[in-house]
């Protein structure tokens, strides 16, 4: 079995690319990846990109931040060293809770925001020092690139389909 071919179809319009991707899908050709300068809305279901779980992660980080803040305020103000400040004693957690809400809120936001951003950077592997993987430098400017991995025998068929769908350039590697 010979090596797979990588085919790049380059478009100058996101709608044309989308229509092309729909046709490829109908012909049972899998689009491996799409590189674009900005998000193409509606491309994900066509090329089989699942929805992201990142907001659920963020929610969990937020809950963690909230729990940590509640634990911290309870430990420092009620359990470890209760002090009577300005005639306001720290007898029980529920009595002081209203005063702890602001810090709890800030901590929730802090953990939800930073946790989510970190998850995004790690899952998408965008970090300082990473080498960019877009095959053509124009895909961060005005071009939209569709990457297809195909068996050598399918090559001509796919190239023809890409050209027909309005690709400006088709490159095969």
């Amino acid at each position: 079995m010979s090596a797979k071919k990588v085919i790049h179809g380059i478009y100058d319009d996101e709608e044309t690319l989308k229509k092309g991707a729909i046709k490829l899908r109908a012909a049972r050709v899998r689009v491996k990846e799409v590189f674009s300068p900005f998000p193409i809305h509606g491309i994900d279901p066509i090329i089989g990109v699942d929805r992201t779980w990142i907001s659920i992660c963020s929610f969990i980080y937020g809950l963690t931040g909230m729990s940590l803040a509640l634990l911290m305020t309870w430990y420092m103000m009620i359990s470890d060293w209760p002090t009577d400040i300005g005639g306001k004693p720290s007898f029980a957690f529920y009595m002081n809770l209203p005063a702890f809400i602001p810090v709890t809120f800030e901590s929730t936001v802090f953990c939800a925001g930073h946790g989510m951003a970190l998850t995004f950077f790690l899952r998408s592997w965008i970090l300082p020092g990473v080498t960019p993987k877009n095959p053509d430098p124009r895909t961060t400017d005005n071009m939209f690139l569709m990457e297809i991995e195909a068996k050598p025998e399918d090559e001509t068929r796919i190239v023809a389909m890409l050209k027909e769908s309005g690709a400006l350039e088709v490159n095969v590697k």
């Binding site: 936001v109 998408s124 965008i126 990473v130």
Partner: protein, 464 residues
């Protein structure tokens, strides 16, 4: 594809393509700065240096170098802190709240507004760290295991809430800003010709490639960050206002403070965004992207928030009389007619009367008028904080301790220094960072671009 009504004015003027947008926004980064840039930059750096000198003098001599005294314990330091942090509120408001409301006009201005937020919060941080008097002990503000016994920070105090609020606000704004910058840095990277700039922008862009999945995550992160930044931005200035409102000083002890401070913060923040953007659009030739319509939208926000501030001033005045508390009534009488009457008059004129002029369409669409008024608003907002802080304190409960407050040249120097620092950072930002979220802007080109809108209108006309 989304469609927009033909009667909505276009947000991108002229006939632009995706490539034109990249070209227009990358040009200032790739080209050379003109002599005006160097001139303003030199002045800003000089002012900043002067401020650093005054800061060192304060650290070396002690807080007695300032005009604050036993009666007026908070003065320029907290005035400037609140002023800067208020200015910092527009950035997050534009990028977060307007994102949630799907306001497309935010895209031309959010990047520089967020940069402004970050620089303004840095300026505010200088005052808040310095006002403690012994800034080298400021780590005591954070709850940490210490060698002084099991004594912890006081979580019942708004001053501590402020530490948490401001540091969360700063770091979240920074992440929000930087995440948005990554794809745009990638654009600059892929265009770079010189090896050195290619290297720098590769590092800054974190190796962004623009894959479909990355974009899905990117959009989700932006949306969720906007969602959590919205209550965050309201919480920060509410907490700042609680530093005052939870005290028993007449003129501070008011429940109206949180919404009143938040409205004031948005008011001054938008004014600062206008001041900066009116210069930026001219100097960097971005008139096609930052249009008169954008300024008009911001002016409308200014009328709204300015009116809210006005209502707050008047209700404060009414309540001080209606409450029947003589201390409260005196505090307000003293503000308006006491020795600091001029600052009260300045505040009322700049913040209550001047924004009402924007009801005239001619005025709110005039760029010269907007520029002048944006500065007037920020002067007014500075006076507001001065009035709240100094006039409430200088005549306290015991007449024998009544006194006046005068700033020293050291304090004036530190304030000038922060303005210098702010502009130094902003000028550097305008030279090396894409000042408009260029890739995000491309998403609205077909909907809100002038030539596309005309085409669509002509097309619809043919059908009927």
């Amino acid at each position: 594809m989304q469609h927009e009504s033909a009667i909505r004015e276009p947000l991108i003027l002229g006939h632009k393509t995706y490539h034109d947008i990249t070209e227009d926004i990358a040009r200032p980064i790739e080209g050379r700065a003109n002599k005006y840039w160097y001139l303003v930059f030199t002045i800003a750096v000089a002012a900043w240096t002067w401020g650093i000198g005054c800061l060192f003098y304060t650290i070396g001599t002690g807080i007695g170098a300032w005009g604050a005294n036993k009666t007026v314990g908070w003065a320029w330091d907290i005035t400037n802190f609140v002023w800067w942090i208020g200015i910092g509120h527009a950035g997050t408001l534009i990028s977060a709240v307007l994102l949630l409301f799907r306001q497309k006009w935010r895209m031309a201005i959010n990047r520089s507004a967020e940069a402004m937020t970050i620089f303004a919060v840095m300026c505010a941080a200088i005052f808040v760290t310095m006002h403690t008097g012994r800034p080298w002990l400021d780590y005591w503000l954070f709850p940490h295991a210490n060698q002084f016994g099991s004594l912890w920070v006081n979580f019942n105090s708004p001053l501590l809430w402020d530490v948490f609020a401001v540091s969360t606000y700063f770091s979240i704004s920074l992440v929000f800003w930087y995440t948005g910058l990554i794809p745009d840095f990638a654009t600059i990277r892929d265009r770079a010709v010189k090896p050195m700039s290619k290297k720098i922008y590769t590092l800054l862009s974190f190796g962004w490639s623009g894959r479909a999945k990355d974009w899905t995550r990117f959009e989700e992160v932006s949306l969720v960050l906007a969602g959590i930044s919205t209550p965050l931005v309201f919480s920060v200035h509410s907490i700042v206002s609680m530093d005052f409102a939870t005290s028993i000083v007449p003129g501070w002890h008011t429940t109206i403070f949180p919404p009143y401070f938040v409205a004031g913060a948005i008011f001054s923040g938008f004014a600062m965004v206008e001041t900066l953007l009116l210069v930026v659009r001219k100097v960097l030739n971005l008139e096609h992207y930052i249009t008169v319509k954008h300024m008009e939208y911001m002016n409308i926000v200014i009328i709204l928030t300015g009116s809210m501030v006005g209502v707050a001033y008047l209700s404060e005045l009414f309540i001080s009389w209606y409450s029947g508390v003589e201390y409260e009534a005196y505090a307000f009488l003293n503000r308006a007619t006491g020795p600091y009457w001029w600052s009260y008059a300045g505040m009322m004129t700049c913040n209550v009367i001047s924004p009402q002029l924007y009801w005239f369409k001619k005025l709110r669409t005039s760029l010269t008028f907007t520029f002048v008024l944006s500065i007037v608003v920020n002067i007014g907002m500075w006076f507001e904080r001065f009035v709240i802080i100094v006039t409430s304190l200088h005549r306290d409960y015991i007449p024998s301790s009544w006194t006046m407050y005068h700033p020293t040249w050291i304090e004036i120097g530190i304030f000038t220094g922060t303005i210098g620092m702010f502009f130094t950072f902003f000028l550097l930002f305008a030279r090396v960072f894409p000042v408009i979220a260029l890739n995000e802007l491309k998403t609205i080109l077909k909907v809100s671009g002038e030539s596309y809108k005309k085409e669509a209108a002509a097309h619809t006309h043919d059908h009927h």
